[in-house]
């Protein structure tokens, strides 16, 4: 049952918006002063989205921060003085892509919509098998193209960090679309010298298929509307996946010099499938650096459309997280990983697997939970294999 997606400013919604007939409900992003503030599920009335229904949905679903920003807007009409854009650190936007020309086209179009504040846009082509990627990039004048012959998302991220000219490098996936304020929000997050990375809010670009809805129900990428600062005093480095996802993050270029580059043995393009950015964030936290979560840095991600793709993704997350923990035990001597893994398995994964099996099909597909668990079990070995392969790759022939 497809769900329509809308983006409105609070109190500036049209009273009724017609919605194509195949949608059964709407998911609405409500902004206050142009900044994302709430994400609510709204039923449709006679094929229309009513402003009153959104209001009602806000009354029950909006987080406290939403009302706080509404109240602030009423009491203090203009936002506190924004720092001058030119004083913010310079930025490079890096898109790491492989054989997804159509998605890349949409992504680059959205990046072109951002206000020009002197940012550089860099596309890192991770050994695409066709020339379509290059063709898309050349159709956008002024966008840099970097071709790598070696596949691997983390290899591409390292190449982006090395080639970028900006002080910070903002990463966006090729299947995501950036909000015009996305980059500025990331740049603003780096005001503190100890902040080495920031992550942002990612919402679904479309909810057309059951697989996409299921991905959202599984947790999606949304980390809420409250800005947060993550430090190792409050977050164990091994739980770094909480800080955000690689689809929407920015890294200070010098961070790689301080804690080492992204691990080439992790993430897409290797047997470990994911976990690359979480592992990097873990090293940042363990070195007592800060990671900012900024909901104003908004982008939209097109989730996988088919169930087969979704299952592969969820399996990949399982592999990635355990591969990341394996690396932490092996290389960083973080013995806590074993404890965390056991805790997660016994306290969370197994009970959920059982309850979703009992309540199927009402509960989220238990097959997904099983896939995740299978991935977890495959994770440690996948990392060892991947690390060996990466080692051989590095050795001169």
């Amino acid at each position: 049952m497809p769900i329509a997606i809308f983006d409105f400013e609070y109190r500036k919604m049209p009273p009724a918006v017609p919605v194509p007939a195949h949608y059964t409900a709407a998911q609405v992003l409500v902004r206050v002063d142009g900044h994302p503030a709430a994400w609510v599920h709204v039923p449709l009335l006679d094929g229309r989205l009513m402003a009153s229904a959104v209001e009602e949905a806000l009354a029950t679903q909006a987080p406290c921060e939403f009302w706080q920003s509404v109240a602030r807007q009423d009491i203090i009409p203009c936002d506190a003085a924004e720092p001058d854009v030119h004083l913010l650190p310079s930025a490079t936007v890096a898109v790491c892509t492989r054989d997804r020309a159509e998605d890349l086209q949409r992504c680059l179009e959205s990046l072109r919509q951002m206000p020009d504040e002197g940012q550089e846009i860099l596309v890192v082509d991770s050994a695409s098998r066709t020339g379509a990627t290059r063709a898309v990039v050349t159709s956008f004048p002024g966008i840099r193209y970097l071709r790598l012959e070696r596949a691997g998302l983390n290899v591409a991220r390292n190449a982006a960090l090395a080639a970028a000219s900006g002080e910070i490098v903002a990463f966006i996936d090729d299947d995501a679309v950036a909000d015009p304020q996305w980059l500025r929000a990331h740049r603003r997050a780096f005001s503190h010298p100890l902040t080495m990375a920031s992550t942002g809010l990612t919402l679904p670009l479309e909810l057309e298929t059951p697989a996409q809805e299921q991905f959202e129900a599984y947790g999606g990428f949304c980390r809420g509307f409250r800005p947060r600062t993550f430090r190792c005093q409050d977050l164990h480095p091994l739980q770094a996946a909480i800080t955000g996802a690689g689809v929407n993050m920015a890294v200070r270029r010098t961070a790689a010099d301080l804690v080492g580059p992204f691990d080439a043995a992790l993430d897409a393009g290797t047997p470990t499938l994911s976990g690359g950015e979480a592992e990097f964030m873990a090293r940042l936290l363990a070195s007592y650096f800060q990671i900012e979560y900024v909901p104003r840095a908004l982008n939209w991600h097109r989730h996988r459309r088919t169930e087969a793709e979704l299952r592969r993704i969820i399996y990949g997350y399982g592999v990635g997280i355990y591969a990341f923990w394996t690396r932490q035990v092996w290389r960083e001597r973080e013995l806590g990983a074993a404890y965390l893994a056991a805790n997660w398995l016994l306290g969370d994964q197994l009970p959920q697997l059982v309850s979703s099996w009992v309540r199927r099909p009402a509960e989220l597909d238990w097959q997904l939970r099983l896939d995740e668990l299978r991935g977890c079990l495959a994770g440690p070995l996948a990392y060892l294999r991947s690390a060996r392969a990466a080692e051989q790759e590095r050795r001169p022939v």
Partner: protein, 529 residues
């Protein structure tokens, strides 16, 4: 004595106390040579504790500014700071430690911060956090990192718009103030040795009406060399000096660690404190055992255990210091009792009037309140709690509070004010206002725990039992409750208290319940939110 005294009157006198002229003094002096402020506008006074020759060996060649070397023997850097201040020629004093790496804008930052102030400003410079906190083996040194973050947290707090500056924000490592103000309060008190001399100066500066200010442009790198033994020794000194502060300034007591820990310690820390009192030798032996454990935890990456162990060691060291200079628990108890702070209500309805904020500011300036309750007519909104040893509440703090957590309560109160002015018929309409409902935070749950649109009210069975409470959306219609009732009010599962509602009016709207809630709730409980 090297003296490059020029005829021009300097605007700044930089006083650097040094005991035995460490090599870092050379860095400090060299950094002062690369300032954006022209060198004829400042002079530097290095006050040594041993002899002039040792200092002269540290002086780099070709300094562009006027440098004077003085000697004042005796314990304590503050003795040398006072001595340097007596010989300063400029109207503005900058105190700098001898292990600093001044950035080029340091002195200009201080001058500008004073120019923007009232003439009674005390300006704290910024010590940026070093990125590298690795220890001997190249690994991150946890203690170094935690200490860096502790310093940095202090500076970050000072840059917040609503920060209430306190005596403990005065840090003598990179500090500037008018020479006249420094002399007026009598300089540093030499009885405070070897630490907290700057805090004690802060107490007197605040009493003299000085305005504390933090300037991020006045930056200097600090080469902190604190290790665990030094930290523990310092903690013991702090315990001892805190007793001295508590005796001399009773109003400060609630802010001191001694008061906080006296009441708030957990069982294991209480046990540690007890052992520290009854058998210091045993306590030292135990602490000695814990120290190597700390290193082991770090090697095994046991963060939580490491942090708890360190906390325990610091508590022990602090209380060793406290108990050394007190006569018993009764004495400690006396040191933790403080005079009641001054607290008054400020009605923010004033802000609706023309020039309202200025009136409020003037009012606050006269009354010098330690804490305020903020209301909207008679509806409590929140409060700026009394903070021992901090500057009095000013309009800056109220404005910052309104911009953050105060916005929502004020908004609610305004809406409720409108609600009260309405007739019963209008009220039912207002009860549909999603904003009002979402702001309500009223959780309504009958004894039978029926969920009412995710808001739950609990009724005491003996008071009302047979209430007809409809489920779902209808619950947002005027509630028909023909009884007096007690409502348990909870917020985020935290109980705020019971609220009694009289029976005179049979029909109540949620809005009325809300109003009663705000008007009747015990103030302290309301604030607990």
């Amino acid at each position: 004595m090297i003296d490059h005294t020029t005829a021009v009157q300097p605007v700044l006198s930089v006083v650097i106390p040094t005991r035995n002229a460490p090599p870092s003094l050379t860095t400090t002096l060299a950094g002062l040579a690369r300032q954006t402020l022209p060198p004829d506008r400042y002079e530097v006074l290095v006050v040594g504790g041993v002899d002039e020759e040792a200092i002269e060996r540290c002086v780099p060649a070709g300094l562009p500014y006027s440098l004077r070397i003085l000697v004042k023997r005796g314990p304590g850097a503050s003795r040398r700071r006072n001595f340097g201040a007596e010989h300063a020629r400029a109207d503005l004093l900058v105190f700098l430690d001898d292990d600093m790496g001044p950035e080029p804008g340091l002195l200009e930052g201080h001058v500008r911060a004073h120019a923007a102030g009232s003439g009674r400003r005390v300006v704290m410079g910024y010590l940026p956090p070093p990125l590298d906190v690795s220890g001997a083996g190249g690994q991150v040194d946890w203690l170094k990192a935690e200490l860096r973050d502790w310093w940095e947290d202090g500076f970050v707090a000072m840059t917040q718009p609503g920060h209430r500056f306190s005596y403990s924000d005065v840090l003598s490592g990179n500090l500037s103030l008018p020479t006249a103000l420094f002399q007026e309060v009598g300089g540093f008190d030499l009885d405070y040795y070897p630490c907290r001399d700057d805090f004690e100066l802060g107490v007197r500066l605040l009493q003299a009406g000085a305005q504390l200010h933090m300037c991020q442009d006045a930056r200097s790198w600090h080469h902190d060399k604190t290790d665990l033994p030094r930290l523990l020794a310092r903690k013991t000194d702090e315990g001892r000096i805190d007793v001295q502060l508590a005796r001399q300034y009773p109003h400060l007591r609630p802010a001191l660690l001694i008061s906080k820990q006296y009441r708030e310690l957990n069982i294991s820390s209480r046990a540690l404190r007890f052992v520290a009192r009854s058998s210091p030798a045993t306590a030292d032996f135990l602490a000695g055992l814990l120290t190597p454990l700390l290193a082991l935890c770090e090697r095994l990456r046991l963060r939580g255990t490491w942090r708890r162990l360190l906390g325990g060691l610091l508590v022990h060291a602090y209380w060793r210091g406290v108990l050394n200079v007190t006569t018993g628990w009764d004495d400690v108890h006396d040191l933790t009792t403080a005079p009641a702070p001054s607290l008054a209500s400020i009605d923010l309805a004033e802000l609706e009037k023309v020039d309202g904020m200025r009136q409020v500011a003037k009012d606050l300036q006269c009354r010098k309140l330690e804490g305020v309750r903020l209301t909207w007519h008679d509806i409590p909104l929140g409060r700026l709690p009394p903070q021992a040893g901090a500057e009095p509440v000013g309009d800056r703090h109220i404005a910052a509070w309104l911009a953050e957590e105060g916005a929502l309560p004020l908004m609610r109160a305004r809406n409720l004010g409108k609600l009260l002015a309405l007739s019963a018929a209008d009220i039912s309409e207002i009860a549909h206002d999603p904003f009002l409902l979402a702001c309500a935070d009223l959780q309504v749950c009958p004894q039978v725990r029926r969920k009412v649109d995710e808001r739950q009210v609990a009724f005491r069975p003996e008071v009302v039992w047979n209430i007809d409470l409809e489920c779902g959306r209808q619950a947002l219609e005027p509630l028909c409750i023909p009884h007096a009732m007690l409502v348990r009010v909870r917020h985020n599962n935290q109980e705020l208290g019971w609220l009694s509602l009289p029976a005179e009016e049979c029909t109540r709207t949620l809005g009325r319940v809300l109003y009663a809630l705000l008007a009747q709730l015990d103030h302290a409980a309301f604030i607990a939110r």
